[in-house]
Symmetry: C2
Subunit: 411 residues, 2 copies
């Protein structure tokens, strides 16, 4: 049995992942920008609004004309016109005058405030009573009050949300500069692995990893490219890896449930001129045989062959790495949200190994959450389907006792 | 000013939304199934594993032969072969014999347990010492122990995750039946609205809604179809709405910041034979003029024209409705996760109106969260970009006092 030369910690692996640069940015249209991350903050090219607008339905007036108005002593104003949406009213509103204005309408010349329609009474064809006073700029959005030209509207490094795209559209920013999406070559290896639509012969298993890893890549906002299954053959692995390195930014090879295959992947990776093995062996459970290498600036992940281990390692390192090179932060662990829960049964762990434990998160009677470790041998595929959370047991811990508060990452 | 005939509560609107049936299901390949929801639970077509497999690297043995083995008195076994991955070993292992087996290998005939390689010593060409006893099925996954044929593996009504797709792939389930994705026609209306790549003339504004609503639809897992901007013209609105109803499952029309436009949308919708207005006016802020109608079984949402109001109403009702018709549950409010926070400043509210208040969620010194209401007039587009959460102030409340614990929905 081959031992790993140097087993590193998960934090050590994250440090090596951080040595890769982010992907270069590209310019995309707003319709393609959802969830993409801009490398630089985006500033407004203009004032919003470009001139004062009404925030209510009402009458544009000179505020002074309404001072002291009340139900008993209303101000009387003469309506000289109406502001239409979509065109600047060719109106001049003087003292003692008013113009009807809809929400969003631009204030006509001469006016400096808007009286809400609720505080007016129509008295005849052209006359209204105003029953409440307004001050200058009441119910008005002043020029640049929403956004000033040159103001930072979208911070760097945050995924663009629907509301951000709305603001950008409103300001006429039709294209944005965002980090490129990662293309990820996904390769399953092993003599025993067959396509999922084949009936496995005795001793064969279907390619679960190709599908679970590709889906995880997609869920991380990247683009999976699924390659054909590669048998335990150095030449075939070399040519598929060469194709994958050419077509993608990152390569994820799963395989090596047997020691021989593990060695084969390392040998093939190392045979690429200039390739550098950054890690081979990580003190985590599952996932100890994890490999990280670099060739021509591209990351190559060697994931375990077992579907449960492969997916957990991909959740813990590959998905955060994809978020990082696409502009986000780099933090170990599945990308899901975190929830505090009470541990339902004690967990035992080995000192020196960091454990990623599958749990089922359930609502407790008190409204909180209980995390129940998923029953079954760790190699059971069904444990992944039953789990909806991961607890990280630190390497220095011998376990976590029943009833302890734990941080559960939703998966 | 036109008053709404009957203003309903948000719960009343949700009840009307629940009267729509879900979309019909369709069969898709596993590669297209991520985040889609199956209407029925999925059961396994076969046992996994199909025959006993080893969960470790080691030696397949007859457990009986190891009883009493220890470091001082090891059991001596004769190695008669090795199990290769990908083929069923043509091996018969008898009493006093062993066969090398890799993790995942199928147990050869005659064996019923596996000894981990760590607890063996090679003594010569064919002999090993076993230093720990194993019992029957030790380090073995029995036939059907992971998944039994006919067992429920994926529950109905939950979005498919990468791990679910991995399990399905492993079982040879190459296609799944899932609810169809909703196609959503997105229509912006208003004489004043111009495409985002046009420089607005005085009095015009750019089409923020087309982009923010389309992106929200996409974030909800549905497919937006963005139509051309429609001016305040009944004939043009009618023909665009007819196109949208033909091409999509749901239509979202934003517009009607002016009272005239609000009336126009209702009139055009009602002119479709058999169209039914289910709600016109909802007791929420922002979003009171919200319209819901049905034509030929399809939902038509009339959203406010103002970009902030339109997006909040779409977050609160349209996105949950899309989740629902695509197979999820129907619950009012943005789809994001919920976080408990302390309210930074008191919020004032009107009794009888349910408020959706934009807040900025910030980490507090104690590790908890503070929710800070976003400063600025409610109609300011920039408030949407600055907010990352929504607090719902119930209709019966006059407000929420500073320091209260609030539930923030992340947006």
């Amino acid at each position: 049995m081959t031992e790993f030369l140097q087993v590193i910690t998960s934090d050590g692996l994250v440090e090596r992942l951080a040595s890769f640069p982010r992907l270069p940015p590209e310019v995309v249209s707003l319709s393609s920008a959802l969830h993409r991350i801009p490398p630089e903050g985006i500033t407004s090219p203009e004032d919003l609004p470009e001139r004062p607008r009404s925030t209510v339905d009402g009458y544009a007036v000179q505020a002074e004309d309404t001072f002291g108005a009340s139900d008993s002593i209303p101000a009387l104003l003469n309506v000289v016109g109406a502001v239409a949406m979509g065109s600047l009213a060719d109106l001049l509103v003087g003292s003692g005058q008013a113009a009807y204005i809809p929400t969003g309408g631009f204030l006509p010349s001469g006016t400096d405030a808007v009286v809400m329609v609720e505080y007016t009474n129509r008295i005849d064809e052209t006359g209204i009573e105003v029953t409440r006073p307004v001050t200058v700029r009441s119910n008005v959005l002043s020029q640049g009050e929403d956004v000033k030209s040159g103001e930072l509207i979208i911070p760097a490094g945050e995924p663009l949300r629907p509301q951000d795209l709305g603001v950008l559209a409103g300001l006429g920013v039709a294209t944005v500069c965002v980090y490129r999406q990662a293309k990820v070559g996904v390769i399953s290896t092993g003599d025993e692995v067959v396509p999922i639509d084949c009936k496995p012969k005795p001793g064969q298993i279907r390619d679960a990893n190709g599908y679970s890893i590709s889906a995880l890549v997609r869920a991380a906002g990247a683009i999976p490219i699924q390659f054909e299954i590669v048998p335990d053959d150095a030449g075939k692995l070399h040519s598929t890896l060469a194709d994958a390195l050419r077509e993608s930014d990152v390569v994820a090879i799963s395989g090596g449930s047997s020691v021989g295959m593990r060695d084969l992947i390392v040998d093939v990776v190392e045979a690429f001129p200039g390739a550098e093995v950054l890690a081979h062996g990580v003190a985590i459970r599952p996932g100890k045989p994890t490999l990280l290498a670099r060739h021509a600036g591209k990351a190559i992940f060697g994931l375990p062959g077992h579907p449960v281990s492969a997916l957990i390692v991909a959740m813990v390192f590959l998905a955060p790495f994809l978020r990082y090179i696409q502009g986000g932060n780099l933090e170990k662990g599945p990308l899901g949200s975190r929830t505090q829960a009470t541990l339902a049964t004690s967990l035992h762990s080995i000192i020196g190994m960091e454990d990623f434990v599958r749990v089922r998160l359930e609502r407790a009677a008190d409204g909180g959450y209980v995390a129940r470790p998923v029953f079954g041998k760790s190699s059971m595929l069904s444990t992944m389907a039953r789990a909806n959370g991961i607890i990280i047991v630190p390497a220095r811990a011998e376990g976590i006792v029943q009833g302890a508060a734990v941080d559960v990452i939703r998966i």
